[in-house]
């Protein structure tokens, strides 16, 4: 008996060890990735690198236009995605009946949007925004002259907004659910209408959730490249975009271009690592903020 018990414990030790090892391998890869990128990029992490244009055929200089383009992209994207995402979340929590066909269809659509490959969004942006809407706008406004019917920052941002819409919806929905039913009832019992209740009680209580959703969406949008490959991202531009119909540079695309398409990959290696570090810092700090906000919302729900 004792022997059997011992054997079982030894086996248990091995099996438990395997699962622990798996977790550790994943973490180790992540750590190695971070260390390598930080090590490779930290020498480039200077104000000059962040604030200047690329020079000498992109073999020297900074990445300012890519940072600027990324910022512009996520701002326009948020302006489109956050209101629509928030309203959808309001519908799902406040208006829809929990298990109605419509609510379930919308939830399924949202989850489908979340798993559609990002390259499909790129195709859609091209087929819908550029070729359908853009070309249509051109034939109306510019008499067929090419202005909107080509890749630009507006179409890229809107494409990205579709991709990040589910992120916003899910976060805001989670936050709306933390508003106690009591408060809604209190408001309604005072003779407030549904919309008054939403506007004055539900929404003010879920600002941090909307914030979390926005941050997560921005983080996602800042890192995605596939949707903007052919909807507006540019290889190199000498000037910043100054209208919505301009193309733009963006961090992720810059990394891709520099590491695969440039004539002398080795020479620009520091720039590539530097850009990757900037992008990684950006997305990680955004995610970290969102995690903290979310943690606080969840704590509020328990309290």
């Amino acid at each position: 008996m004792i022997f059997k018990k011992f054997k079982q414990d030894a086996k248990g030790f091995i099996f438990e060890g395997i699962t622990l090892l798996s977790a550790l391998i994943i973490i180790a890869i992540l750590v190695v990735m971070l260390v390598v990128i930080v090590k490779g990029g930290k020498s480039m992490f200077t104000w000059e690198f962040l604030s200047t244009f690329p020079t000498e055929g992109m073999t020297k200089g900074g990445i300012f236009p890519a940072i600027f383009g990324t910022a512009l992209l996520v701002i326009i994207m948020s302006i489109a995605a956050v209101p629509f995402g928030t309203i959808t979340a309001i519908y799902l929590t406040e208006y829809a009946k929990e298990n109605s066909f419509i609510a379930r269809s919308i939830r399924f659509a949202v989850r489908t949007l979340a798993v559609i490959p990002s390259i499909i969004y790129g195709l859609f942006g091209l087929g819908f925004f550029i070729k359908f809407v853009g070309t249509g706008m051109d034939s109306i406004f510019t008499g067929g002259q090419l202005k909107w019917g080509q890749p630009n920052i507006l179409w890229a941002s809107l494409t990205m907004a579709l991709l990040t819409l589910p992120v916003v919806i899910v976060s805001v929905e989670e936050a709306l659910k933390t508003i106690p039913r009591d408060l809604r009832e209190a408001s309604l019992a005072l003779g407030a209408t549904k919309w008054q209740t939403i506007r004055k009680v539900v929404l003010p209580g879920s600002y941090s959730g909307i914030m979390t959703g926005t941050i997560l969406a921005v983080s996602r949008g800042a890192g995605e490249v596939a949707p903007i490959l052919f909807t507006g991202a540019a290889y190199y531009l000498a000037t910043l975009p100054h209208s919505l119909s301009d193309q733009f540079m963006v961090l992720g695309y810059h990394i891709y271009i520099m590491s695969t398409q440039s004539a002398n990959v080795d020479q620009t290696l520091p720039i590539q690592f530097g850009t990757t570090l900037v992008l990684l810092l950006l997305t990680f700090s955004l995610n970290f903020t969102a995690i903290i906000l979310r943690y606080r919302i969840r704590k509020k729900r328990i309290a």
């Binding site: 929990e98 009832e185 209190a186 005072l190």
Partner: protein, 252 residues
């Protein structure tokens, strides 16, 4: 002759297919305190929430029969539910102030009614807080968060909030169940004062409380209204055996 404020006729309520109220007919007089008592799950809270159509919020609830307030059937399809709830206010079991200042909590109702003049609002807030017997405790910190108040104060604030809308009926769902004895007695005093101007229907678990404050008492058991009458009679000489058993603490 007492005036009838609320009466129901053969009212049934279902959660999905489960019957929660079975043939309830009751007549609640104006400017009196009516207590609803009975063991947990007997349908008294459900009944209370039907009186301002709070149950509309629950999808699975289905109601049959009639509920009249001032001889108007409140489940008629032309009824304006929003106005109904202004007329029939509600105080909940768990105090539920908004995460706003004390002032804004009370001003919420008037604001919703379109009163935005600051002087008017200040006056309404002050009177409401006075009538809810909490003015002296909060007058120096009207603009502090309501969440900083004690449980008893929060509950009286919620009553003040209801008063500010100037309802005719106030429904109270075990308003003192979570409070300490001192807060409870304050609320009870308040309820007795309020009946001068309001019709009050209160659900309570606490039979002493029902005996102390109410004029009439209704005993619910398993979704049925077993007995309804003068509080004094119910507590001293009930007609039904079940009522007696409950009052004397043999079950529940």
């Amino acid at each position: 002759m007492k005036n009838l404020k609320i009466h129901t006729e053969n009212m049934y309520l279902y959660y999905g297919s489960k019957m929660a109220l079975n043939n309830v007919s009751i007549e609640i007089p104006e400017n009196k305190v009516t207590a609803l008592i009975g063991p947990s799950g007997c349908g008294k809270s459900t009944f209370l929430r039907s009186l301002n159509r709070m149950n509309d919020l629950i999808d699975s609830v289905k109601i049959e029969g009639n509920i009249f307030i001032d001889d108007i059937n409140i489940y008629d399809k032309n009824i304006d539910v929003v106005n109904l709830r202004k007329k029939v206010g509600m105080v909940f079991q768990k105090s539920n102030p908004f995460a706003k200042s004390i002032f804004e909590n009370v001003a919420y109702g008037p604001r919703i009614n379109g009163i935005n003049n600051n002087n008017e609002l200040t006056e309404i807030v002050e009177k409401s807080l006075q009538n809810a017997a909490i003015w002296d405790e909060v007058k120096d910190r009207l603009h502090d968060s309501a969440l900083g108040l004690s449980g008893g104060q929060q509950q009286r604030l919620c009553i003040a909030r209801t008063l500010a809308v100037n309802p005719e009926v106030i429904l109270m769902d075990e308003p003192a169940s979570a409070l300490d004895p001192i807060s409870t007695s304050k609320i009870e005093e308040l309820i007795v004062q309020l009946k001068e101007n309001y019709t009050i229907v209160i659900v309570t678990h606490n039979m002493q409380q029902a005996a102390r404050i109410s004029d009439d008492t209704a005993f619910f058991y398993l979704g049925e209204l077993i007995e309804f009458g003068k509080t004094k009679k119910i507590f001293t000489n009930p007609d039904k055996k079940q009522t007696e058993d409950y009052i004397t603490g043999r079950f529940g």
